[in-house]
Amino acid sequence: MPVRDDAAALVELRGLSKRFGANWALDGVDLRIDAGEIHGLLGQNGSGKSTLIKVLAGYHAPDAGELRLNGRVVSLPLSARQLKQHRIRFVHQDLALIPSLTVLENFLSGDFGLRRGLAPLRWRRESAAAREVFATYGLDLDPNVLVRDISRLARAQLAIARAVRDLGTADDDGDGGLGLLVLDEPTAFLPRDEADNLFRLMRAVTDRGAGVLFVSHDLEETVDITDRVTVIRDGKLVGTVATQQTTTNDLISMIIGHTLAPRATVPESARPTGDTDVRVSSLSGPLVREASFEIRHGEVLGITGLIGSGFEQIPYMLFGARHATAGELGIGPDRFAIAPMTPRRAMDAGLALIPNDRAVEGSAPSLTIGENVALPTIDRISQWGRISESRLTEYAASLTQELDVRPSDPRLPYAALSGGNQQKVLLAKWLATNPRLLLISEPTQGVDVGAREQIFRLIRGVAAQGCRVLCASSDLDQLAQVCTRVLVFRRGRITDEVSGGSLTKHGLTEVLFRSDAAVAQQS
């Protein structure tokens, strides 16, 4: 629990500001974390959360502001030496573990750089020391197994144990303080009961006097575990509250704010006729459980969720690009089992997938625009098996011109295009296959504002012409603009449907941040 006000805080940020170009990512933010406290940090995507963490990690130099560690002002940006001295440790969502090495090797990985190159490693002693640390925190980890063979929960535990093993103990120099652990979305891929397990570990860390900064999208978890919560919005501090004295609804309004609701964008094409001729039933896989939904004629259906909710898997699973364990896809009178789906079968069924990773999954960047755009339909232009360069160029130009790809010469390398034009090429590539169902993942990631609007129009146009569109995205603004209906995923299941007047960025945010309890109450 927070300690007396006069005691020096472990970490105190005052008036922290950071500008990127014309945008203030952080604007005068204060944050104070005390010893023995679990402090939550909440905010939407783009609110400045990650910038704040990056300032703490010494990655960004702030434009204004002061940082005190254990009561003393330190110079910014923080150096690696200062971070080590003040024992500020980070565990990011990706955990930074090497799966092919053992638990012990990963546990010691931070040490190898510090020891003398040829100094002998006494594995038996190191192993015993690691077991002791694991025992202290009540973890059941075997130092000698490979990380790839342990569960997701065990990996998170290992990453945290590695970060905190010397926090809260007496310090050799006496000036290092008790230490701070920053957890950035550590529970994103964990089911709730396993997340509880991590919370016990966090408590064990604070019981030893260290502080924890817990960054999460998940409101419910944040309320359950933290002592105090700081909310930031649009780079500004909204406030810091004691968790006990607040409600989930208070926090939601702090996160979203009470600005005027923006215009409700109802796309012109939003006239679903009621035909439900695309139907997905009981789709299940590693991160998705029993998802069922329909896409109506003329509709752009959006799916979204927080990190780890599994929504982003859906397009890939339908297309046979990621493994699904069960499920059925109905298009018109046809029925397809999803588990044995392959990209080839999916294409035969009339599916098209535009993945979010354009450089690896969407294209071969070193080949030309023409070659990339024509790939799935290239047989159309072969005469007696022959394809001339000029025919390819002509065909590619006919596909890309409609979508206003610039520069328009299909003989240029795909890599030479901007993000927006690269995406238009991929749209052209797949629209040429005349799909019945178009699956798009993050359609405007890395796309500038002008092209973004063009791509929105294209997607709506495709839907208006009768192709069903499924759009998976974590960009709520985008979903509000392009979709007629949005399904919200939570821990692999569909928990909400947003459409009509509440389909705005704010409406979606509210649903995303609502706790499971609130969802249960409502339904």
Binding site: L367, L375, D409, L412, S418, G450, L476
Partner: protein, 354 residues
């Protein structure tokens, strides 16, 4: 994720800003016609060959600049020529095949044993040799593809196994006395002063160029090598294409082996192996010209004979035989260095476009 602040929401703003060229300049940033640099890149390799010929013609007009010499170069280097072509397909698909020289020797040895020791007629013996080669390609490809192992390591291993098999089935001796009709149809008959063996390579070269450059299959193979994930997600049968390229590669290596047997009139268990490095040097050097950045048939042809001309010229000028190794080794390192440099330039284009 867009910056979700009020600034990021203003999607109505009409500025088609940071995105490549402005609407006014509808032309490509690079002109559609090739620049001088582009032409130079395409023509550098052929020009280098012409230059080498010119230099040695001036230095040694009496021995170098003769029909007999060129006939000799084209004929005797047809084996490395065909072996180089055999590498084009797997490399295009992103796979290394280090076993081509051993496969060539296996095809030659099979043909020789059947023809000489078992008195098969030469044609069935050759067919048997080619079948053995294709089967070896199938084995290589199956291991690489179905167990998802690195092709470099697998073919290094199978190549060594084959060397053992060669010594075993041949009794570690050269098998000579192959049917004279084979010798006649490979090296004995000349067309325009050049032995037929060169024309076999030329036919393969034309077919390979046509398939890679002018068919849908060629484009698919290219995608398998350049972006295996996008190839899969675009519905290509990636495993089948790779397997096919391994088999085709082995079959062409088998042809190279049989041509070699025809040139020497015999088959021996080890000498074909010395062609492996020259083939790799030539195929990488060939990828720097004609269609820069892509493994291609004409580039391979020019690279093989550029290297051959240089070596022959130097030997006529009195250089010792070790000049071969200097030449081939140096060419391989230079070629991959060039390729890396031009790839770096390509990525720079990408960076500025973002």
């Amino acid at each position: 994720m867009s910056n979700s602040g009020p600034v990021g929401v203003s999607t109505d703003s009409p500025r088609l800003g940071t995105d490549a060229p402005s609407p006014a300049s509808h032309t490509a940033p690079r002109p559609a016609r090739r620049s001088l640099g582009g032409w130079l890149e395409i023509a550098a390799l052929p020009l280098a060959w012409v230059l080498v010929i010119a230099v040695f013609s001036i230095l040694k007009p009496s021995t170098f600049l003769t029909l007999a010499n060129f006939s000799n170069i084209f004929g005797s280097y047809s084996v490395p020529f065909i072996l180089t072509l055999s590498l084009v397909l797997p490399l295009t698909c992103g796979d290394y095949d280090l076993s081509v020289a051993s496969v060539a020797a296996m095809a030659a040895m099979t043909t020789a044993i059947l023809n000489v020791n078992h008195h098969w007629a030469i044609v069935p013996a050759i067919v048997a040799g080619l079948v053995v080669a294709a089967v070896l390609g199938l084995i290589n490809g199956s291991i690489v593809i179905f167990f998802e192992v690195d092709s470099l390591i697998v073919t290094l291993g199978t190549s060594t196994v084959l060397q053992g098999v060669l010594l075993w089935i041949s009794g570690s001796t050269t098998i000579s006395g192959l049917s004279p009709s084979l010798v006649q149809s490979v090296i004995g008959t000349k067309l325009l002063g050049i032995p037929l063996s060169f024309y076999y390579g030329l036919i393969i070269c034309v077919v390979l160029w046509y398939v890679l450059q002018h068919t849908a299959l060629g484009k698919r193979l290219l995608f398998v090598g350049r972006g295996r994930t996008v190839a899969k997600l675009s519905g290509l049968r990636v495993a089948r294409l790779r397997l096919g390229s391994f088999m085709m590669s082995a079959l062409l290596a088998g042809v190279a082996g049989i041509v070699y047997a025809g040139i020497t009139g015999s088959a021996d268990p080890t000498s074909a192996l010395s062609f492996l490095l020259p083939a790799f040097a030539a195929v990488f050097l060939g990828a720097t010209g004609v269609i820069p950045g892509r493994f291609n048939a004409w580039g391979s042809l020019i690279a093989v004979y550029f290297l051959a001309t240089g070596i022959t010229g130097l030997q006529l000028a009195g250089a010792a035989s070790y000049v071969q190794q200097l030449f081939y080794g140096g060419a391989l390192v230079l070629a991959v260095t060039f390729a890396q440099l031009s790839r770096r330039r390509e990525t720079r284009v990408e960076d500025t476009a973002q």
